[in-house]
Structure formats: structure tokens, C-alpha cells
Symmetry: C2
Subunit: 532 residues, 2 copies
């Protein structure tokens, strides 16, 4: 299966290579990841928690010898609410130095504390960065905190991924002190580097950056904060912290100057993290009329149901099938991935990301293909592949249904089983939340689909394979990177931050592993629905 | 004047040696400094700002998955007032780790924040250190924060003294970045080392230390905090900060574990610092009946007058004469220093510290000697040395009056002039405060003498030479190291801390350099009083 050149370059198939001793293994990147950086752009009125205030202090004299800190706090008391109570230790040197240069100061104020001081230069701006810190990808948005403008954005694959694709493998790697340090330092340096690149792109000096607002799942935020995540992976799944935190960005290794804060957004539980809270806050789930279902589907499917009685949420281990992993010809959402499949003129048709030759099939393509196979009878309701028209072939590991014979892209019987398990987990999660809320799926007024997979997902196909209730196919709203939008809003606005806190307070976590009704629903949902 | 052995050892007289190029000069220590570490021991009911709380947390379960931080804060809410609001970033790793070892925790709480967490071990104690951070000496007291017991104390000469004896030379050295860094690091390492030594002496592990409370003059606290002190030395003499601060001891380089706080006590002005505030709070000046005068005499004389209308205070540059510097045969308060002089049977008698052969004369000896010389007519009211009985000799630099011919200890005419300047500065400061308060010296009910020199000072001699008003000779109370006592109390008790804040709030600083009446009084007080 490998060319001579590939073999020459040291490429081997992991499934066929034996390990004869310690070895270093490099995983080649397959194509540019198309990382979703757009999210719902809501109009956020800038009123940031971390802000700059310009003020010219009265000059001291022999009749008025008040210390620098007192004079600054007195001056700020009138211009900012709540009035700051102290100047941080790290800002004292800047305060004393700036005041000797002139009376005009620019103070960085974070929630009652002056964290940075500089001489008031005309060109200086107050910039912030909203971060969506995902297990797979990190997206950062540079913001002008005065105007609310987005000045740039940057997405990168999370450098921690060499420790494993999912949070559990990261947590396992963090069990050793060295692994923990490497994971922590890795993500801190990555975000710091992304911030530098964004600032350079905007022609801004480092000191203009005064705040980060960071959404991420609970494990990612633990690794960033340096809090051991071990207990997240073991029953009863207890994180070290969940509340919103305001820290020094320098203490987190994200900035080298003291006048920059980092807000870590609040999470709900070990597996429903700040990314989900930020996403729900961004779309206003806690204030929406009627009942809203929120799905963020990835390796873990996070599901929330918002209604009059608050928000119920859960997380189900869907497995990586919808991320294209564990699927024989699977692929992430990269150029060349088949992302949509449909029946046309009695035959299968497909589209690829970037409209280039197909190299594999990603999550949304998998769901579409299954829906099409169900519709044309290649897969029956139990998930068994049958062969009405000679499309299905016997391969090495079992049956295969080809989407494209020329490029060799197919789904195997094992792929269908993996997809069945994944969709059953999510569907059963939805069932359990509806049951817990005493609500039928027809009572749900809208279904928000968040995240990369959700953005590409065809809701009708999802309903066809039983991933979502049939009634919701027409009520689906794709919200893109809602977590990123939430982080941006939280950086820009105190109200948005409070919305996150309100979402957290309104949310109850439903632990599926302790519920018999979940297991029952899980088994039931393993089947595919009958066709319409 | 030097022996052959001394010359061999490289010892030279600085007044006679010329500098031919860059040279490294070592100043030999002359005798063990007898550093005053005792202060007024008031009964302080332990109720520290930084404290430990033991608590066994309820175990998490699948039905109760609250994060570690929330469970700890909820548990502490009942046991401590005010209830802590958050766990510090640096304490999250300890929190997560300790809880995995067992439910019983020991939390270190500082003013609403949990700064340290450990498993609750039976032997662990909550220890604090009160520090009197002086320009010349550093004194540290190890305290049991539960019982209030003093477990040990340690005094050292301030390592910064190689940059100069007084605060002005330290401030000048701090003008360069390297000098500033060296001064800052020097004192931080010194205090950290003293803490380690005290803990080792008490057989306590580093983690038992949870708090420092530090009193010091404004310059010393600036150097410790890393705040540039430059503006303290230039009119209008503006410090960077004066308010009480609560910092992480690790951030100040005083401790290596996160669960230790450092309280910097509040000061009043550039030259009336936290040491004076702590001293006044320790003796209860703000609540004393009637009028109280407080003197802390050293290179700077700090003077405070407390009465019904609050506290007026000032600082006068007395010069180092009372520290024994600039006096030909002067000496610090070390063994062998003549510390008392009196007339007996028509002749001069003296005592030395340690009752050994005299090696010089310290401040209190100088005051006594002057009083005796005035009484027996060797010095007249203008300060001129006269020679009624052939005691006075002509030396190289002018007249000399010998205290002891055999050991060659004398006061010179120049020494008398230096003492006149010093006592005039202090007496004029007292006059100015009394004037500002509309109060006569006879209205003063008590005079507190604080600091090393004050503790040895004979109040009658001080009155005789006009250093203090004559009426107060019998109303003097020696309070020893009041600043150290104040630091100890502040470490042990929130009320004592609040007393410091109240003293600060009740105090008004009188800037002598801008007052014509001070200059007038200064010239007037240059004369010695007529004898009784």
C-alpha cells in the first residue's frame, strides 16, 4: 500500500509494523485542517471586565504627599465602577516609573484591582484575545476592547495532541510529573505564541494586550491552569475547579508583562466544560423562549436542554467516529474529505471539502452516507450490510460499500457498527435529558448544532439515522464555533461574563453512567429508524 | 594608630588612605551588635488574618460531583468569617492532590482566599513570623499563631548596609537597575534565610509557616516589594505605596511554598513608615488618654504626638550622631561602648555595654556625657568647650574632653557640635508638633522612647541637653523595640492589624521642610538649656 518513495522516507503502516525496541514515531499531518473559526456574531456592546482607564493625576507637592497608589486609586474612583481597591504588587514598579515621566497614566483595571500602569501614549490600544481552547484545535480572536472589532483570528492544532487525540489520553499523560509539565507548558506556550502572532499582525506592542478570555473543556482548562486533571477521568469524575477565574496572564505563562489578565470561563462538570457554557451563553440559551436543545458533537457529545426549569446537560462518550477516527477510510474535516453524500438519479453522489479529489470521509459524510445506504437498502435497520445490487463487496475485514471505487473510499461493516454506537450514545443522551425534563422531543422548539462536525452536519441525514429526533430535522440551527463566540463576548463584556455565570448556575448535570434509563435508551437507539 | 599586625592584615585608616584606582573595601565589624529584640509584650489574643482551618470534606459521589474548590469553600463557609471566596491558582494543585489522599484537609486562608491546602497531618502547626525590617538591623520573631507563643527570635544586621548606612544611600544605590535588583534580592534572601533558621530551630517544616507580618520604614518596604524608592528621596518625597498590603510570600521571594502570605504593614509618609505605625499601634497610642509623645530616635528621628485630635507626626534628619557615627570616638550599641556617664564624687564615671573595657561611646553615652559636661561646666550653653580644671586638651582637630585618659575615649568640640545639631533637629520637631497641636510640653502626659537608642537613653540627661522638654524627664516610658512588638501583634491578630490601619488613618504628617516655624525652632534649640 505504500510507494517506494514513502518507504524510503521511513513511512510504515502502524497496523503492520512490529516494535523491536524504543522508537520515536512521527504522525504525518494529513492535509490542512479546516478549523472552524467562525461562530455566531452577536452584537456585543463593549464593556469589558478588564479595561484601560486614562487619567492625569494631580501632581504631588509638599502640601500633598499622598503616595502614588492612593492618588491613582482616588483618581480612578470617579471614572470606573466598581472603584479599584488596590494596585497589584507587579504594577507598583510601572506606577512609580510612569508617574515620574508625567502625570498622564493609562491604568489597566481588572475587577477592582489595577494590574498594569503605563505612561499614556497616544497610539496605545486596549486589546483582548478570546480563546476557544479545544482538545484538537485552538482558535484565538484578537479584539479591540474599545470598539469591539475583531482585528484578526488564528487557528492551530493543539500541540498537546501528540499525547493523544482525546482528553482521556491527555489526562493519562498528565499522571507523571514530566508529562503534566509538558502538557501545561505546551499549551501555555502555544497560546502565548498565537497571541504574539496576532499582535504582530495588528502592528500592536505586547503591552496593548490586557486580557484573555478562555473557553475550553474542563480538562483543557485544568492543564492550562496547572491543576491536576486526574480525578476527571475516574469515577465520580470530580474536577479541581469549575468557577470562573480571573488570573494574571503572566502567572499562567500567557504574557510576559504584568498588566494582562486571563479570565477562565466557568464550567458545569468534568465533561461539560466552559466551552459549552460559553457556547450556550453566546446563543442566549438561558433566556430563550420554550425548549432548546444544544448539541456539541465531537469525541464527546455534550448535550444541553434549556427550558423553563433551567438547563439540564450531560456528556456522552460517542467515541471518535464522527471525527473520522476509527473509521477505515475516515478523515478529519480536512481538504479532500467527503463531507456530504446524497442519492441522485439512483446513484450515490458526494462532495468534498475544498472540492478536490476525495482522500477519506469525515463525520458529516459518514452520517450522510449512512442515511443514503439506509434509504437505498444497502444497510438495514439493524445495521447489517446487505447487497441488493452488487455494490457491497467482501473485503479483508468484512463487507464494504464503496462510495467511490476509483479512489477506493468505502464504509465497512465495522464502520457502520462504530457509527451505530456513536449515534446511539448521543440519541440516548437526548432521550435521557428529555425524560429527566419531562418533555417530548416534539416539545423542543429548536436544535442548536455547535462545533465543527455540527456545522457540516445535514440535520435530515442526522434524523434519518436516528442521531437526532425526527421532529427536529427542520428545527436545526447551525451555530458554528459557539464556544469561540462566547469567549469573544466574555472578553468584551461583563454582561456576557455574567451570562456565563448564569448559564452555569442554571445548569444541572445529569450523570448518565449512574442512570439505568440511559443504558436502556442506549440499547434501544442502537437500531436505525425505519424509513419514512 | 594601627599595629604592625593590623597593617599586615591590610587594615588602613580611611581618613588617611588615598584611592589610586578601583578598589574593594571591606569594613571590619566592630564587636557583636547588641540588637534590641525585646519590645513591649502585650497580651494579644490570637485571631490572625492568615490562619489554618482543618476540615474533613464530604466525599464526592456520582450524585454529588461538585468540584474540589466548591466543596472546600462550602465546608469553610461555616467555620471561618468572612467565608473565603476562592482558592488561589497556586493552591489548586495541592487541593486536588490532597483530596485524593483523604478527605481531611488543612487550608490556609488569608483574607477571603484559600492560599494553601495540605492533607491534615496531626503534627502540623500554624506558624507566623513578625519582622522588624530596619535600615541597620532585621529582627524576626517566630510565632505559634494558635497559642500566640513566641517560639524564637533572630536578629541580623541588614545585608543591604554595604550600600550605605542610611536610607538615602540605599535609595541612591537603587537608582541603577542592578543596584535595585541587588538590594531587593538581598533583603528577600536575608528574611527567607532567617525564616528557615527559625523554623529549623523550632523543628518545623517549611509548610508550617503561613504568614509574615512585616514592619519597616517606607524605603525598606519599597525595596522588599520591588517598588522603586527614588521619589522618596526627592522633594516632595512621594512613596509608591503606603497602604497595608497582603501579598504572596512566594511572590516576594520570602517562601518557596505557595501557602504563605506576607502582610506589609501600612505607613504614613516617606519618612514615617510602617515601623512607626506598628510601634504606635503596639503601645496603643491612638487610644491613650490625654496627650502622648512618641519618639523613635535613630539617624532619622520620627516623632509623633497623639491626642484627642488624632496623631501628628514628623521626621527630622537628626544625622547619625546618636548612632555613634560621625563622632570621633563614636560607636554603635556594641559591647565595649560607653552607654552611660555620670558625675560621682566630683569626677566622671561611666559604664560600658557588656561591662568590658571601653572601645568607644554610643548615643546614650554621648547624651549622658554632654549632660555631665554641662553640669560641671566643661561645655557652656552655646556648646563651646571651656576648661575650668585642665580636663580639656587641645587635639589635632580642636579641643577634646576625655572621659577616660587611659583608653583614650573623649568627646571633641566637633562631636559636641554634631550632637547639638542632632538634638536641635529633634527638639525642634517636638516643638513644631506641639505648636501644630496647640499644646504645651507640660500638657504631654507621657513620653514613649522606642528603638535601640531610646531604650538606653537616660531621660534626665536627654532633658538636661534639651533633647526633650524638661517636663517630660519623669514621664518617659522606655518601650524597646515597639516596631517588632507591633509586627508580632499584627501577625497574631486582626484587631492589631486594624489598629495599624486606625493609627495610619488617624495620623497627619507634618512636613517640616516646608515650615518656617521649624527652622526657627531649630536655630533656637541649638543652644543647651541653662542648668537647674
Amino acid at each position: 500500500m505504500l510507494s517506494a518513495a514513502e518507504l524510503e522516507a521511513g513511512i510504515r503502516l502502524a497496523c503492520l509494523a512490529g516494535m523491536a525496541g524504543d522508537a520515536e514515531i512521527e504522525l504525518p499531518e494529513r492535509g490542512e485542517a479546516s478549523i472552524l473559526s467562525a461562530g455566531p456574531e452577536s452584537l456585543v456592546e463593549p464593556d469589558p471586565l478588564v479595561r484601560t482607564v486614562q487619567h492625569a493625576l494631580r501632581a504631588p507637592s509638599l502640601e500633598d504627599q499622598a503616595d502614588d497608589e492612593s492618588r491613582l486609586l482616588e483618581a480612578l474612583a470617579g471614572s470606573i465602577d466598581p472603584a479599584p481597591r488596590r494596585v497589584a504588587l507587579a504594577a507598583l514598579p510601572e506606577l512609580a516609573q510612569s508617574l515620574r515621566e508625567g502625570p498622564a497614566l493609562r491604568a489597566v483595571v481588572a475587577d477592582g484591582e489595577v494590574i498594569g500602569v503605563s505612561s499614556d501614549r497616544e497610539a496605545s490600544r486596549a486589546l483582548g484575545i478570546g480563546v476557544d481552547l479545544g482538545t484538537t484545535t485552538v482558535v484565538a480572536y484578537l479584539l479591540d476592547l474599545s470598539s469591539g472589532d475583531r482585528l484578526g483570528s488564528l487557528s492551530e492544532l493543539n500541540v498537546q495532541r501528540r499525547f493523544g487525540a482525546d482528553v482521556i489520553s491527555r489526562i493519562e499523560a498528565a499522571a507523571s510529573a514530566e508529562g503534566f509539565a509538558e502538557l501545561r507548558q505546551g499549551i501555555r506556550s502555544q497560546i502565548a505564541g498565537m497571541a504574539s502572532a496576532l499582535l504582530a499582525g495588528a502592528g500592536a506592542p505586547a503591552e496593548d494586550l490586557i486580557a484573555f478570555a478562555i473557553a475550553g473543556n474542563t480538562t483543557m482548562l485544568h492543564l492550562l491552569a496547572g491543576a491536576p486533571p486526574g480525578a476527571i477521568a475516574r469515577s465520580p469524575f470530580v474536577p479541581a475547579f469549575l468557577s470562573r477565574r480571573l488570573e494574571s496572564a503572566a502567572a499562567l505563562g500567557l504574557a510576559s508583562h504584568p498588566g494582562c489578565a486571563a479570565i477562565l470561563l466557568p464550567g458545569i462538570s468534568a465533561y461539560v466544560g466552559a466551552d459549552i457554557v460559553a457556547g450556550m451563553a453566546a446563543i442566549g440559551l438561558e433566556d430563550a423562549e420554550g425548549n432548546s436543545l444544544f448539541l456539541d458533537l465531537g469525541t464527546n457529545g455534550e448535550i444541553a436542554l434549556g427550558g423553563k426549569g433551567g438547563i439540564l446537560c450531560c456528556a456522552t462518550a460517542a467515541g471518535p467516529a464522527f471525527e473520522g477516527a476509527g473509521i477505515e477510510k475516515g478523515s478529519g474535516g480536512v481538504a479532500g474529505a467527503i463531507d456530504s453524500v446524497w442519492l441522485e438519479g439512483g446513484g450515490l453522489r458526494y462532495g468534498t471539502l475544498g472540492d478536490i479529489e476525495p482522500t477519506g470521509i469525515c463525520g458529516s459524510g459518514l452520517v450522510d452516507a449512512l442515511a443514503a445506504f439506509l434509504d437505498c437498502g444497502i444497510v438495514d435497520v439493524t445495521g447489517r450490510m446487505i447487497d441488493p445490487d452488487g455494490i457491497v463487496e467482501e473485503g479483508i475485514g468484512g463487507r464494504r460499500a464503496y462510495l467511490d471505487r476509483r479512489s477506493g473510499i468505502y464504509l465497512s461493516q465495522a464502520d457502520v457498527r462504530a457509527a451505530q454506537l456513536a449515534k446511539a450514545a448521543i440519541a440516548a443522551g437526548i432521550d435521557t435529558l428529555l425524560e429527566a425534563a419531562g418533555c417530548a422531543s416534539s416539545d423542543v422548539d429548536r436544535l442548536y448544532l455547535a462545533g465543527g462536525f455540527g456545522s457540516l452536519l445535514n440535520a435530515r441525514s442526522a434524523a434519518r439515522i436516528g442521531l437526532i429526533p425526527a421532529e427536529l430535522a427542520d428545527r436545526a440551527i447551525v451555530v458554528g464555533n459557539a464556544s469561540g463566540s462566547g469567549a469573544v463576548a466574555a472578553c468584551l463584556s461583563r454582561r456576557a461574563l455574567e451570562d456565563c455565570d448564569r448559564v452555569r448556575a442554571a445548569s444541572s448535570y445529569v450523570e448518565l453512567s449512574s442512570r439505568p434509563d440511559f443504558n436502556e435508551a442506549y440499547v434501544e437507539r442502537m437500531m436505525f429508524p425505519e424509513g419514512a
